[in-house]
């Protein structure tokens, strides 16, 4: 089936809002090259449980494409049209199962040495869109605070080595600094801008006790039942006689909140689906708390594009054979404080990079702080690059 053959009935299996969205834009969808149509529908089918920022992005791209003169649109979509996809992709049920279709298409593009051409097509498409529809910077500059929590320690390890060139390193942070200073800042920003999913607190261990329901909060500790359920789901697939990587990916991708005990309202579904995706789409998130924290904050920044992000890293368990970690036959495993510190330090750097990818990056602030070592680095306006402050400073001062 080619996109030109699409009909409204083809979206009958889509969730309500996704189906409505697809039908509204049916004329455009019919004009897309197959490679782009597959990718676009992969996003559309999840419309009901997308964050507001993701919905805006999708709507913006459709509006833009629909507004273009045919000649210009064909020019922009040309590189996608030039990709030669196998007949199996067109024959596959890509409308109703776009996620699987995109995986098949990706494998096909790699095998036929067209993956670079696909990436180039995607890049030029995104550039053209952003040239015509520039992003607007947030009214309040973004803030991200990354914390290396208790238990992360390694003798002589040079902390924040990758971040220091970009801001001010504070080797003497007041030991009286605490998480409360960060949570107070989070509350203040929430009060000023109380939109949903704009203020996040992610913890790689046990989250601080806090009753503020309007903060989007996710923690390794709180998600233990979900993690267990996902791991059991993985084990059940691995034990099947027809098991294989493709089947595992399909089963995990089809996991619903109800499958793993996360029933709730439609609004809860957005966050529930996000939590599930952390474990089903992330690699290593199921077994290492440091990976969980890094990947969760990456995905939250990429998808929700929040105004405020607080992430705290906690120790992960020691390395063991993967089958033991997945099967959880390692109940006596102990934390790895040194390895966790190195992992978290890289995770902090990646968090900064991911924040920099969002709009208004020049005005955004980033603070990283080690609770154990009383060191911090601050990046953003007012923090000269590559400098070291000999001043003893309280965390509240860095967050002011």
């Amino acid at each position: 089936m080619q996109p030109a053959e699409l009909s409204a009935a083809g979206f009958s299996t889509y969730p309500p809002q996704a189906g409505e969205f697809a039908r509204q834009h049916l004329i455009l969808l019919r004009q897309l090259p197959l490679a782009l149509a597959v990718i676009v529908l992969r996003e559309v089918i999840r419309y009901d449980w997308r964050f507001p920022a993701e919905r805006r992005t999708l709507e913006s791209q459709f509006s833009w494409l629909e507004s273009l003169p045919a000649e210009k649109r064909n020019q922009i979509l040309g590189p996608f049209a030039q990709l030669s996809l196998s007949k199996e992709i067109a024959a596959f049920a890509w409308v109703s199962r776009p996620q699987e279709a995109s995986e098949q298409m990706t494998a096909d593009l790699w095998a036929t040495h067209q993956i670079d051409g696909y990436h180039a097509a995607a890049s030029s498409y995104a550039e053209a869109w952003r040239k015509d529809v520039p992003e607007t910077a947030p009214s309040t500059p973004r803030l991200c605070v990354a914390v290396l929590g208790p238990g992360l320690r390694a003798a002589g390890y040079p902390l924040f080595r990758k971040l220091r060139p970009h801001g001010v390193f504070f080797p003497q942070v007041d030991p009286a600094s605490n998480m409360q200073a960060i949570l107070d800042k989070l509350s203040a920003r929430l009060a000023a801008d109380p939109l949903p999913h704009q203020h996040w607190y992610i913890d790689g261990g046990l989250a601080e006790a806090w009753s503020e329901a309007r903060i989007t909060r996710i923690s390794w500790g709180e998600l233990e039942p979900l993690r267990t359920a996902i791991l059991q789901r993985m084990q059940s697939v691995i034990a099947r006689p027809d098991a294989g990587p493709e089947l595992l990916r399909t089963v995990l991708a089809e996991t619903t909140p109800a499958d793993v005990g996360l029933a709730g309202s439609a609004q809860d579904q957005v966050l529930s689906r996000f939590k599930i995706s952390v474990f089903t789409e992330g690699s290593g998130t199921q077994i290492f708390a440091t990976t969980f924290a890094q990947w969760t904050v990456r995905e939250a920044l990429r998808r929700a594009q929040p105004s405020t992000m607080v992430v705290r890293f906690a120790p992960r368990q020691r390395q063991l054979p993967m089958d033991q970690l997945l099967a959880r036959t390692n109940s006596g495993n102990v934390p790895d404080p040194e390895g966790s510190l190195i992992d978290a330090d890289m995770g902090v750097f990646y968090t900064w990079i991911n924040q920099q990818r969002l709009t208004g990056s020049a005005q955004a602030s980033f603070v990283a702080w080690s609770q154990e070592l009383n060191q911090a680095v601050a990046v953003g306006p007012g923090f000269p690059r590559g400098t070291v402050s000999s001043t003893r400073v309280h965390l509240r001062q860095l967050l002011a």
Partner: protein, 387 residues
Amino acid sequence: MNPIIQRNPREAADAMVWNRREFLRSAAGLGAASAFCGFSPLRAAGLPAGQKVIVATFGGGARDEETFAPEGRENIPNMLGTLLPQSAFFARVQNHGILGHYVATASLATGVYETFNNYAAVPPDNPTIFEYFRKGLNRPAADAWVVAPSNGFNRIGESGNRGYGAGLGAGVILPKRLLKAAMPVNSSDDYSHLLRDNYEEPFYTPELAGNEIEFRQLEDILRLSMGDFKQHALTLSSPDELSVYVLRQLMKQLAPSLLWITLHDIDVAHSGAYSLYIDGIRRSDRLCADIWKAVQDNPEYAGKTTMFILPDFGRDSDFTAGGNGFQHHRTGDTLSRTTWMMVLGPRVRQGTFIDRPVESLDLVPTLGALLGFGTPLAQGRPLAEVL
């Protein structure tokens, strides 16, 4: 904002590759102009009999930042301080194929970009270097061996090509299977650190069931009793160390002319644990030096062995939006496709730095030219700088 982020990701990646080359020229002292173009003419035809080749791949991929870039130097003291000065160093080895470990390693071994499903335990479609070697030089089965991680690599020794294939390939030893075979049922705790597999995909975790083939490999080929093997395994700290132990045993017992070892500890990067990824690189660095020392210490190999060390490919750049930095190699960006190769041996002009881009496919025709056999179906070109 970081100026690298402000750039086009491809430009940023190119800049980082360039920085690595500049670093190598200055820090490793390999920058003499004569070295860039002053390689010798082809001499393979004149090689004396008994030449041997060892190929060591970093299955798992390593990036510039953690190896030859300034910030990565601390992770490769042996390669930088000991091996690099003795080597011809190719700074730009490009892999344009599928960036999956088994299919990429198979491509290295066939000289053709293989396109089979990376997750399937299938033989390569095209003849492997082992088949070219054995058929071309009429060598016995015992003269070509592969030591590989157990995740799917069990079919890498022999292709499905009709003109080559069955009976012409290399013996493949999967050390973890050997160890499992040597262990009593349900007694893996002491050895569990040696049975780790990669973290990219749960189904890569092998079925570690020992069988008669493994027992035969232990006793007939490696000349090891199960007790001795287990005892020595207890002194090792990782699967790659176990692989190198098996390699040394092969060198000692059979002295094969063509040896291929795929290290794989680095692939733990897929779990997202940066510290474990770094540990893997440091271990690979040490083990490569150990292999080269084993070559020098073994009269069967000393003075007549050429060793090739190369990652199968790189890993994603920190700054490529579609990836997650070191964790994967999924974007196909410049850094994930660009890596290096080190060549050491009696005919290699030491301290040579080769700046021109070459392809990972060039390995097979180079080995063929070096040892004197044809590789008719392989793509790529012999690397004249080491012939």
